[in-house]
Point group: C2
């Protein structure tokens, strides 16, 4: 704890320099091994203003090949801060396998400052602490080596250093209002840091370094990094255990029990479509102004009618306010990161709608069945995904998930039609036929997915799509209802 942290004794300077030199060489050798072992590393450096975070990072990277690291300083860009979920900018910054990201202050500083400035409530503070723990566990379980350092200096030393910076015309500009505020509020900060570290120490422990001894702090930081990497190299990539948290779940039927007979006649379809699209268009205006983010997820059998369904939903929307993200196999730089990364980076801004044509559920379907991830990985994913989606709905997003459902005979008929219609042939591939072979394996996976991830906050809807028109009306009705509710809830939240 910072409160009762004791300054370290001075050490022989030359001995420290010799140690640093040795650690640099070790780090130089580890680079290549890290790359071979495909291990990603995150070094989070938190600490007081003027504690020496920049210097520590500078020394840590000095021998590392620039191809293997990146330094990220989360700048306070209001546009990003306010319009994306709290963890967005950190999730975006995670490295590829074999590479290192250094964070020059991160999620701890962000939460503590906002809390002390009363920009977030106690409730929101607690939520963010929980999100941080979820985020860190997911990184650890996904094989990331994470090192968390806090660089500590006492109030009097901070005063001296800030004064020295201010007195020098070349460095004066480095002292910000924020730093001065922190210094004045040193007592409240130390309590808040301690409280935050206390709450986020179980999954990935904090390391407090004595910033009053610059060289020794560099040595200690480098030693921690070398040890952390060595531990990873010795033990191989860590794969987290599956776990279960109690999310409030909705009851879902088995796919086999779903009645696929509902249809709609053409007359009614046209009438309803027009009415619902008009309403959706109005609602898009409202959610845009209220800055409510909306995330629509489409999964379903091949040839179930996802594309046409999405087009009917997208049509009435203002093209400036929505995006459709078709999700194919991950690209190399996506495959080399935690599996949710490519979805984090595609989240909509507040007030925008984004439609995912296939989603992160690939983890528990195709990746499970094709062995693209380990059993532990996909079993753990149900809860990881529930956490991810809760972070989205906590942020204020409307999250709706559709399973576009047809039966096997209907799929066959549509496959054959595609095969026999020249303009549609591109829609049918060898892979579709191979997937069809695995229909019953997929059915097991989908049933399990629907049971385990249809949370109250981000529910699944099975959409009967043997009649595509019926399916379109159903999804539109669900979306309209959910957006209407979100607009009401938003009003209530504003009033409280």
């Amino acid at each position: 704890m910072l409160k009762d942290y004791e300054r370290k004794k001075p050490e022989n300077k030359e001995a420290i320099n010799a140690e640093i030199k040795q650690l640099r060489e070790l780090l130089l050798g580890q680079q290549q091994l890290l790359r071979d072992a495909k291990l990603p590393v995150i070094v989070l450096i938190e600490g007081w203003a003027a504690a020496g975070k920049g210097t520590l990072i500078k020394e840590m990277i000095s021998e590392i090949d620039p191809r293997f690291y990146r330094v990220v300083s989360p700048v306070i860009v209001p546009e990003t801060e306010e319009r994306y979920p709290f963890l967005y900018q950190y999730a975006k910054a995670i490295p590829e396998n074999g590479k290192i990201t250094f964070l020059d202050s991160g999620w701890m500083e962000s939460v503590v400052r906002k809390y002390l400035r009363h920009e977030i409530t106690k409730e929101e503070y607690n939520r963010r602490v929980r999100q941080v723990n979820e985020f860190e566990r997911q990184l650890r379980d996904g094989g990331y080596l994470v090192l968390k350092i806090f660089l500590h200096i006492e109030k009097d030393l901070q005063f001296e250093r800030i004064q020295a910076l201010s007195d020098n015309p070349a460095t004066e500009w480095r002292v910000t209002e924020e730093d001065l505020w922190q210094h004045r509020e040193y007592k409240r900060f130390i309590q808040a840091y301690d409280a935050f570290m206390d709450k986020t120490d179980d999954i990935l422990p904090w390391h407090i370094l004595d910033g009053s001894r610059r060289k020794a702090a560099v040595r200690d930081g480098m030693k921690l990094l070398v040890q952390r990497i060595q531990h990873g190299l010795d033990n191989g990539r860590y794969v987290g255990e599956p776990f279960k948290e109690d999310f409030p779940l909705k009851d879902m039927p088995k796919l086999a029990d779903v009645d696929l007979s509902p249809t709609i006649d053409d007359e009614e379809y046209k009438k309803e479509l027009k009415k619902l699209q008009e309403r959706l268009s109005e609602l898009h205006n409202i959610i845009y102004r209220k800055k409510i983010p909306v995330i629509l997820c489409y999964e379903g059998w091949d040839a179930a009618g996802k594309g046409g369904n999405i087009r009917r939903v997208a049509y009435p929307l203002d093209p400036r306010g929505f995006d459709v993200h078709p999700i194919a196999s991950p690209l190399p730089h996506e495959l080399n990161r935690q599996y949710l990364w490519r979805f984090w980076t595609r989240l909509p801004r507040t007030g925008h709608i984004c439609i995912f044509d296939r989603t992160w559920y690939g983890r528990v379907m195709v990746e499970r069945l094709e062995g693209f991830c380990s059993e532990k990985d996909w079993k753990r994913a149900y809860n990881e995904i529930n956490e991810f989606e809760r972070q989205l709905t906590d942020w204020g997003a409307v999250v709706i998930k559709f399973w576009i459902h047809i039966d096997r005979d209907t799929q066959l008929a549509r496959f054959n039609e595609r095969q026999n219609t020249p303009e549609k042939q591109w829609k049918i591939t060898e892979e579709d036929w191979r997937n069809r072979e695995k229909w019953f394996q997929y059915e097991v996976a989908v049933d399990e997915m629907l049971q385990k991830t249809s949370t109250k906050n981000a529910p699944w809807y099975i959409i009967e799509s043997n009649d595509k028109k019926y399916a379109r009306i159903r999804t539109l009705k669900i979306i309209v209802k959910a957006l209407e509710k979100a607009c009401e809830d938003h009003f209530e939240r504003m009033m409280n």
Copy 2:
């Protein structure tokens, strides 16, 4: 021209609807052909506020598979606008092969507004017009199908439409201060639009549509799009002709004539290194405050010592203010776009330094020699690159390019040393040996590159690196001098 544009006559509504239906079907069929032909399409929709740009885009995309298009509305994010070159956000938005980007207003609106608001000088306006022409030509020559539409309405109609939007509580918020300003200044705007279109009509022509007839405008816009695509499909991917503009060039020696004997003794190296690094550190502070962007480009023979050189430059820099971009073979999503795209997207913000470890010059070296692009492509690239770099220096960036040079014997010695040192083996690959075989072909290409692209504003420096230490001191000296000059120039610019 807008000034004397005549409203079209009303047409039979049902006939228009039938035409639109037919055009939709044509577009639906073209999608797949576009994809097969790997042709990228950019549709730029400019026009008056309330002219119906959103509706036009909405109708154009209504039948296109969401996987094949994106709508981009350049939002005015000051962070992006002020901290990157003017064309940055448009360059970022260009589509992959086989896909379509719709721009809901773009570079024309941006230039015209800034000019009318006196935020840019006449001189800067002219520069931006030139940059737009360069950008459009580079897109066209790179195989992009670009369609430029201006949606026109007269002042009285704009008044009616804005009034209707304002009177309706659901749409009132859509009328912005910007729109009202444009309406009040209609006369100045129409002149400015006409002038801009006049200056940017040669390479890619403008199409003016009559926004007073909504349905007819949609029909006309779709017809233009279908024709544009059909023309591309019929004629195949366009490859631009090489061309030559007179850039002021520096004289460069042939590589074979470079004296590689200079060395530095250890004592002096250490002294100079320390002095130069300290100075560079100070300068980094200054350029950060003055918001001068710096782009350092490294090219050179394999094993010439680029990595170690870059590390010595990076070491004194504040890690929060620089990035190193190692450039390897392009990833699929990079390969599928104009070759400069992956560099546009990696540009530094103002005040930041970015170091490219290999660069866009791959176009005229490896891509030329390995046949990854056509002869016309690489021959055209010298001027395209000169234009690109002039856009960077016009923006205020310092651009310095190093060719790290060694002789063949030295390369062989270093290859052998790498091969025989276990920690260094990862640095040497089969490909390095293959490239070595092509030394003399590369020499021809590099000589040509140095002759044709060492502009006064973005010069090349050949760095003698048989003695790596000598090379490091030389690059540091060049960088320090260039940054000092940039700081002075900056002061002068502020005073004028």
